[in-house]
């Protein structure tokens, strides 16, 4: 007993800082996810010419908190024939995997829980893939056909698209030669170019595969409500259901962060090493000030006194953030904090853009059929990504012979990308011909199409 206590104290003495960060993430992330959901609903409303949630708080700003309260006090139902233990475990597993994988991410150069682990990006990808167990186990334990169908679809989808995503990661990692997340961003900083320019095909492949992996529309077959009620979540209610929701959005954040780190330059400012563009450092401050000004402008239009005050409070918060962003640029003493604060801002900015793209796709493209999804994965994305890895490798060897660096790498990687695109077109036309030869009405049954 004494030994265990001693070990705990020893542990805490070394690791209190990462532990605190971990607690902070667990506390803040559900709130962030709530607001991502609000943004998604607002966006959906905007694209469908509606207003979206408007009742709770000004412009529905307090809606996530109301939703969270509702979900917490909702009745929790466990089906009679369910496997109780697994039913209980499954959502926790999903959320746990998502939260754990965030530990490996570097949100700016200053904020990373698991500092400088050698396997960096593999850790994030591998642990977040564990979340699939939660989905499959939950679907199986519900003892319902809809749930099981959703779970099986989800597993098939993950297994097919994980390959394409992995290959896309490999072709970006060929440029870095390291898996360490900080080093990946530093390589992009040294080269002065983001990998999305050098490996555009890999970025595209990862984008599509990451949408499929997070079960988002247009690939949300596991929870297709017109076919499967709610897929693997059918029998879940209340807090358990919200845990699945939390897991889905956490996974979105994770894949967005991986894409940002590998392809979009991580926490780097756009054109980080072009000195005449250094005035871009004022852009974050300007952005926050504009948001604050908008809030003040809209304040008189709010119907009640409380809502007006709340709007003013939001404006004040934005203004404080603007000040925090401004100080390291202007005051020389605070300059050591510049990298941490602005890095965090740019990182969150890029992640938000990536997630915005997810939402945009969701409201634009109709859902795929299951056989179409499988065909896209196996017949198009996987061959494309394998060829891309080969060509990027060849381009890199050519670059080392020609001694190219930075933007000069484009000389060899652009032809590689063009060749990959030609191959992609060839694959597509071959698919078309196959379609003509085959009977298009023939029933196809991958798992449960």
């Amino acid at each position: 007993m004494n030994a265990i206590l001693q070990a705990t104290i020893e542990f805490l003495r070394h690791y209190w800082a990462p532990l605190l960060c971990g607690v902070a993430i667990v506390a803040i992330l559900p709130l962030a996810v709530g607001y991502i959901v609000l943004v998604e609903r607002k966006l959906m409303a905007d694209m469908q010419a509606r207003l979206g949630p408007m009742r709770v708080g000004p412009h529905g700003l307090l809606q996530p908190i109301a939703d969270a309260l509702k979900l917490l006090i909702k009745e929790d139902i466990i089906p009679d024939n369910a496997d109780k233990m697994i039913f209980w475990l499954a959502p926790v597993l999903s959320v746990g995997a998502g939260l754990l994988s965030i530990a490996g991410l570097a949100i700016g150069p200053a904020f990373q829980i698991a500092q400088d682990i050698n396997i960096g990006i593999l850790f994030v990808v591998g642990i977040s893939a564990m979340g699939i167990f939660g989905i499959v186990l939950g679907g199986w334990a519900s003892n319902s056909h809809y749930s099981l169908m959703g779970a099986l679809r989800s597993s098939a989808q993950l297994v097919s698209y994980e390959t394409a995503a992995g290959m896309a990661l490999v072709s970006a990692l060929l440029f870095t030669g390291t898996l360490n997340i900080k080093s990946i961003v530093e390589v992009q900083s040294n080269e002065g170019i983001w990998f999305v320019m050098l490996a555009p095909v890999a970025f595209f492949t990862y984008l599509v595969a990451s949408i499929a992996e997070t079960n988002r529309a247009p690939f949300d077959l596991p929870e297709a409500e017109s076919e499967l009620v709610a897929g693997y979540m059918t029998e879940f209610s209340g807090f358990r259901w919200s845990l699945y929701f939390l897991a889905e959005y956490t996974n979105m954040i994770v894949v967005a962060s991986v894409a940002t780190t590998l392809f979009l330059g991580g926490w780097l400012r756009p054109f980080a090493h072009v000195s005449w563009l250094n005035s871009l450092d004022f852009l974050p401050t300007l952005f926050m000030v504009v948001v604050a000004a908008y809030c003040v402008l809209r304040m008189p239009k709010q119907p009640t006194r409380v809502q007006q005050l709340f709007m003013l409070a939001v404006a004040g918060l934005c203004f404080v953030v603007a000040l925090v962003l401004l100080v390291p640029v202007v005051v020389p003493i605070a300059h050591p904090f510049y990298a941490g604060i602005h890095g965090g801002f740019w990182f969150i900015c890029k992640v938000s853009l990536y997630i915005y793209f997810f939402m945009w796709l969701r409201f634009t493209i109709p859902r795929y059929r299951f056989d179409q999804l499988m065909r896209l994965g196996w017949h198009f994305l996987i061959p494309l990504s394998i060829i891309n890895v080969l060509l990027v490798g060849v381009a890199l060897i050519a670059a080392s012979y020609l001694n190219l660096h930075g933007w000069g790498l484009l000389l060899v990687t652009t032809p590689a990308a063009v060749i990959t695109l030609i191959v992609a077109l060839l694959i597509l036309s071959a698919e078309k011909q196959r379609d003509v030869r085959h009977d298009p009405n023939a029933a196809s049954d991958f798992y449960a199409g």
């Binding site: 001693q6 070990a7 697994i86 396997i119 850790f123 642990i127 167990f133 199986w140």
Partner: protein, 172 residues
């Protein structure tokens, strides 16, 4: 001290879940305990500062057990399986194999004290700071020292993969 506590923690989980895995009647429960056993082993890898092995263990077995789950769900009729006899009743063969294994392990422990320099290899742990980068080390030994065996294994896997595709393909 912390190292010891962590090791016994992971080792206890691994052993207990391995035992539970073979004794569960429900195949899905068995698969879950298989995951816990493998994850605990991954934890021990991490404790040995073999980060790369840790993550490879997790990534490979996530995919592998995923497929196992699907097979269990699709191929095994659980209601029937629960009624069936769980173990093959070949007591004498099992006893023989168990005795042979136990003798082997016992011999190793017994001989380790007797022969100087030839017993159990006890390696001294390197300091955490002096460790070479993990994934790079694995890559060097795979692609430099053991390139030929690695390629042979790859070709073997490729053959198995193509064989599976050919056998699964519809004959039209």
């Amino acid at each position: 001290m912390l190292d010891k506590v962590l090791f016994y923690f992971f080792a206890a989980i691994a052993v207990a879940s391995a035992a539970l895995m073979v004794t569960r009647r429900n195949v899905v429960h068995g698969a879950i305990f298989l995951i816990t056993a493998l994850l605990a082993t991954a934890g021990i890898f991490l404790q040995l500062r073999a980060e790369f092995l840790f993550i490879v263990q997790i990534i490979l077995y996530v995919g592998g057990i995923m497929v196992l789950f699907v097979f269990v769900i699709m191929l095994v009729n659980l209601d029937v399986a629960l009624q069936q006899i769980q173990f093959a009743r070949k007591k004498w063969v099992a006893l023989l194999v168990a005795l042979a294994l136990a003798a082997q392990v016992g011999l190793m422990f017994w001989s380790s004290g007797k022969m100087p320099g030839q017993g159990l290899p006890v390696l001294t742990a390197a300091a955490a700071t002096s460790l070479p980068p993990n994934s790079e080390t694995v890559a060097h030994s795979l692609f430099e020292s053991y390139l030929l065996p690695f390629e042979i294994a790859s070709v073997l896997l490729l053959v198995a993969m193509i064989g599976a595709v050919v056998m699964a393909k519809k004959r039209t």
